[in-house]
């Protein structure tokens, strides 16, 4: 038992140490970072954070990122919910092929779609909008969402649907009033996953935006300048990107393990 505890503790230490290093670095001045190796900031400073929160070209990056992530989450849930219901309840022509085709999109390397996406969204006038990034991310988040939701929905007995129809519920009424509340943990987990995917992705988000919808991860490269890298500022920007994830995972903490197994355990 003690051995287990120690092993787990050692692993968690391994997970946290690099993050700890980033966090304390964000409170140091650049002189201290480059001058000496200190485990705790000697001159505790908030300057790096103040720079980010007072400069629109910095904090707008966060606003942009959160905008397209939220858009992606909403679109994904809206179209994945009915689709997952269909997959979990009915057989229809081409269902297996469709499901595999859907998953195959999850397997496409984003680098493959880079250039075509750029051209497609430019040609329909979506380039450099939040919607373009959200739609591009949908290609990868929808397959996963359908997969997870289908797993959760299959866990709901079909007798419930049938009873509701006998009681005279219409499909829409049943779906919204009865079915969705029954799988709300599944929906929470799905929302969490589409958030996660969209939040961490950089390659597509950076390619599909230039000014107006530029994500924070692309703005972070600004810290590299002719005079070297502004380590403190970079660290502070990094720390701020971790916080939304921590907040979101808090809400789904009891279901997250099941969600990672795609609702299938």
């Amino acid at each position: 038992m003690i051995k287990k505890r120690l092993g787990l503790l050692a692993y968690i230490l391994f997970v946290l140490l690099p993050i700890y290093w980033l966090i304390i670095m964000s409170f140091k001045t650049n002189e201290e970072i480059l001058g000496s190796l200190t485990l705790w900031p000697a001159n505790f400073t908030f300057d790096n954070y103040i720079t980010i929160f007072t400069d629109p070209s910095w904090y707008m990056g966060y606003v942009n990122s959160i905008t397209y992530v939220a858009l992606n989450m909403v679109i994904t849930l809206l179209v994945a919910l009915p689709a997952a219901y269909a997959f979990s309840r009915y057989k229809f022509i081409g269902d297996k092929h469709l499901f595999f085709w859907l998953l195959s999109n999850r397997m496409a390397p984003p680098a493959v779609f880079l250039l075509p996406f750029f051209q497609l969204y430019s040609s329909v006038g979506l380039f450099d909008t939040h919607l373009a990034v959200a739609l591009a991310h949908c290609l990868f988040s929808i397959p996963l969402a359908v997969w997870i939701l289908e797993g959760f929905m299959s866990g709901v007995p079909k007798e419930i649907d049938e009873t509701a129809y006998i009681d005279g519920y219409s499909f829409g009424h049943f779906f919204i009033k009865i079915f969705i509340p029954m799988i709300r943990s599944g929906i929470g987990v799905t929302a969490f996953f589409s958030f996660m995917f969209s939040w961490v992705e950089l390659l597509l988000a950076r390619t599909l935006t230039s000014v107006d919808a530029k994500p924070i991860s692309a703005i972070m490269t600004r810290t590299v300048s002719a005079s070297g890298i502004d380590w403190g500022l970079l660290a502070a920007a990094g720390v701020l990107t971790i916080i939304p994830g921590v907040l979101v995972i808090w809400f789904v903490r009891n279901h997250v393990a099941k969600g990672f197994a795609l609702g299938r355990v």
């Binding site: 692993y11 179209v79 009915y90 998953l103 397997m107």
Partner: protein, 297 residues
Amino acid sequence: MNKVQNNKAWWLILPMFALVAFSAIIPLMTVVNYSVQDIFDQNTAYFVGVEWYQEVLRNERLHDSLLRQFIFSFSILAIEIPLGILVALMMPKTAGWKTSLTLILLALPLLIPWNVVGTIWQVFARGDIGLFGWAMNALGFEYNYTANAIDAWLTVVLMDVWHWTPLVALLCYSGLRAIPDAYYQAAKIDRASRWAVFRYIQFPRLKAVLIIAVLLRFMDSFMIYTEPFVLTGGGPGNATTFLSQTLTQMAIGQFDLGPAAAFSLIYFLIVLLVSWLFFTSLSLTDKDQLKQGSASS
């Protein structure tokens, strides 16, 4: 579950289908179109057939980066899967705030944007300002990931292990939670050894989640781009240039559209082929699992 045959279900699929098709089929057609043409500018293009494919298949640089990619994917699988199982086995069994806290701490690396993961390790592994690099040097190793190819490899692998082992651990953890307590009690009565419990009770139940884990880890590691790009920029030399980066260099750096498109399709096909193998075994195991599940409950 017995499903009803009903083709009207397509109406429920339609919005999703339209959206994904817009984002998947049109771009894919564009890529196919590029891969068979030689494009000079907007209006001049020649049909060249399979020439680009032949060129890509002969290209030494791509062979090297494909080899590197396979070595990388298999080495991280070999480390992350056993380590993930081990961590899952060490997790506390009872629900409570300690378990929630452990879960959240474990999931932390998964929620960090990939470029920030690169940044974290870029800082952490540097000899002058990073704890890890500094500690390695203090211990007497000559460690410098920006100059030495082996060190760069080790750092990229270590970073991926740090980043993605939690995913495997969480998957396995949820698999373990699904085992009814009665199994353990029966094992206790039979005085089964720790190993026997793992081999005959825990491992069979883990199989389904492990296939998902292997599948996801294979796919994602095969597409890795951002993390090594930020950490090492693909260097030193080409030591850590993986497929996605080679492709991006070709498509956007050099604007070799034809070869890049042909390469894209081959790349996609490789991922698809390997994933299909996993998917088939996944659905087979899923069925076994269902049978077991209905028998035990």
